[in-house]
């Protein structure tokens, strides 16, 4: 076998090699002094690198971090902002665009559209949360939409290819995760995917948003075209009146309901999903759920929970609230019978020793012991001799031992001026145990 390379040694020490490869490496390392030194060095490197990295854990929070060294290497795709590329400018431009478009339409029709007036009146009278959706002429809302709905920057290397979150969603979800209860985060998640503010659970008292949270909201994309921003803001084509926008908005409804056991008790943690969409929710502790912004039409709700049979509920969604209740039946999966059986290994248990016979030939004393019925070991005791004296070369001994290797094991040791050889159809560990006992008896 060739010498081990450093990568293989590290992989071996990290337990990343297959058993066969590991055995090969082990065998080679025990034979080759050069590779054994490399293994020892690798062990040292692993321990030292762990210790060095551990010292990084003592970092108190709030220190000034060094910029990650890869910052420079990350291609800066973000463009330089132009002087006009500011949120307030864009908001002002959007307002002007709306006003201009409305004026053009009004002039074309030679009289102010009733729809426009109606819309203005609606904006004034609508409650604040409704305004957030419809008040297209309100600069802050437009600014918010521009920020929140602009496409993600190109340089974002999100491996997960997740849907872009709105700024509000990110902040609210972070608040929820900052709180001790992770279940709270799920609740937030289980609500409206579209991130409507009125659906978020209020942050807990100790879950004040960190100052950084606000800053990590995605910056407005400088490349977002105005037309797209207008579409984002209005939900309709640019130039359309607000009544058009309202008319063009797809009809969406809310689906609520309660999932219970067959006994009528509310089931929490049930996953309820609108088939073929990403709209889903989990039930609360009383088994209730709510899914917003479900497109109008015929749908099927998939209701799942571990331990209960899955159900599909057909629903018909319109612009009002749709109720879907279901009772899940508990499933009892019958597992196949497991039979645990064992066979007493022939080598199990502490060996018992019984002397069967002994004979002496010259200076060699041979004793045969019975370990178990049918299992015998032989202890040969000879005076310590040099190779020359014994007339048998070490090489010959090794060959003899090799010949016996298939069926038996042999261990040899010396004590005083005597050499002992213990041979038998046992593992070397068991032979060692017998050796200990025999030598204890002899002493």
């Amino acid at each position: 076998m060739q010498h081990l390379d450093e990568g293989t040694i590290h992989a071996w020490l990290d337990g990343a090699l297959s058993p066969e490869e590991a055995a090969k490496v082990d065998a080679h390392a025990s034979e080759c002094a050069q590779c054994a030194a490399l293994v020892a060095e690798a062990r040292g490197l692993i321990a030292a690198s762990t210790r060095i990295l551990n010292s990084l854990d003592d970092v108190p929070s709030g220190v000034i971090p060094s910029a990650p060294s890869d910052v420079a290497s990350v291609p800066q795709i973000v463009k330089q902002r132009r002087w006009y590329d500011r949120t307030d400018f864009r908001a002002a431009a959007a307002i002007l665009f709306v006003a201009g478009a409305s004026l053009v339409i009004a002039k074309t029709q030679r009289k102010p559209t009733a729809g426009f007036e109606t819309a203005i009146a609606t904006v004034g009278a609508a409650p604040p949360d409704v305004q957030a959706d419809t008040a297209v002429a309100t600069p802050p809302v437009i600014a918010d939409n521009l920020e929140a709905k602009s496409p993600p920057e190109k340089s974002e290397t999100d491996a997960a290819a997740t849907a872009p979150a709105t700024a509000r969603e990110r902040v609210a979800e972070r608040r929820a995760l900052t709180s001790p209860s992770i279940v709270g985060a799920l609740k937030v998640r289980s609500r409206d995917e579209a991130g409507r503010e009125d659906h978020f659970a209020p942050p807990s008292a100790n879950a004040a948003p960190s100052p950084m949270v606000a800053q990590t909201a995605p910056p407005p994309a400088p490349t977002a075209p105005m037309e797209k921003a207008m579409q984002s803001a209005f939900g309709a084509r640019p130039g359309a009146t607000m009544t058009d926008a309202a008319a063009n908005r797809p009809v969406q409804g809310r689906v609520t309901g309660r999932i219970t056991t067959s006994q009528g008790a509310g089931l929490s943690g049930v996953n309820v999903k609108v088939q073929g969409t990403n709209l889903a929710a989990s039930t609360d502790t009383s088994g209730r759920f709510k899914i917003d912004d479900v497109p109008a039409g015929e749908h099927r709700l998939i209701v799942r929970r571990i331990g209960y049979s899955e159900k599909t509920i057909p629903i018909s969604v319109n612009d009002s609230m749709t109720t879907a209740n279901a009772a899940l039946d508990a499933t009892s999966n019958m597992l196949a019978e497991v039979v645990v059986s064992g066979v007493a290994a022939t080598t199990a248990g502490p060996p018992t020793l019984r002397q069967l016979r002994a004979d002496t030939t010259g200076t060699t004393h041979r004793t045969v012991y019975e370990v178990r019925p049918g299992v015998e070991v032989t202890l040969v005791e000879t005076p310590v001799m040099t190779e020359m004296e014994s007339g048998i070369s070490l090489d010959q001994r090794a060959k003899r031992a090799e010949a016996k290797k298939d069926s038996t094991n042999t261990i040899t040791w010396s004590e005083g001026n005597r050499r002992y050889t213990l041979t038998g159809p046992l593992s070397t560990k068991q032979l060692d145990e017998i050796k200990t006992r025999l030598m204890r008896t002899r002493r």
Binding site: D5, E6, G7, T8, I9, H10, A11, D14, A16, L45, I46, A48, S49, I52, L53, S55, L56, D57, D58, V59, P60, S61, G62, V63, I64, P65, S66, A67, P68, S69, D70, V71, S73, V74, Q76, S155, E156, T157, D158, A159, A160, T162, A163, A165, R170, E173, R174, L177, T178, I182, A185, L186, R189, S210, P211, M212, Q215, T216, G269, S282
Partner: protein, 172 residues
Amino acid sequence: MNDVDRLFRTYNTALVRYLTRRLGDRDWAEEVAQETFLRALRQETLTNERAWLFAVATNLVRDEARKASRQRRQLALLAEEERESSVESQETTLERAQEAALARKAVDALAERDRLALLMREEGLDYGEIAEALELSPGSIGTTLSRARRRLVESYETLQKEQGLREKNAAS
């Protein structure tokens, strides 16, 4: 226990430690870790969840790095407050800070791929998971790690020697 609960409980500690070692700031690391779990929430299925979490966290670090200068300004203010409220013995703080600074320099001196592989391995990711997260071949991870460990230790020892010399010169 629901799935996100389990994910959070299983991987949060390791992920925050990985990110702290990577970024050098625990608050920042926790922010990124939370964002990572939020993204995991949006996933229908995760085939290899640990590799996925570490890969997404690594990518988020790259994205977050662009906001680094702004955050550093804020962290400077926080650090100022921290110094004012700190009651720890100056000596202990200094020793720890020096050790951490040397370690930070040594880690930063590594190539990005070596550094990430090493930090992930320290969090218990196996070779397959590291390969998946970093989009490398599994066969190259052993070599990557051996190189990273050797360079880290050598770099750290060099820095230690330099610091020792500086202290000696300052004393004389």
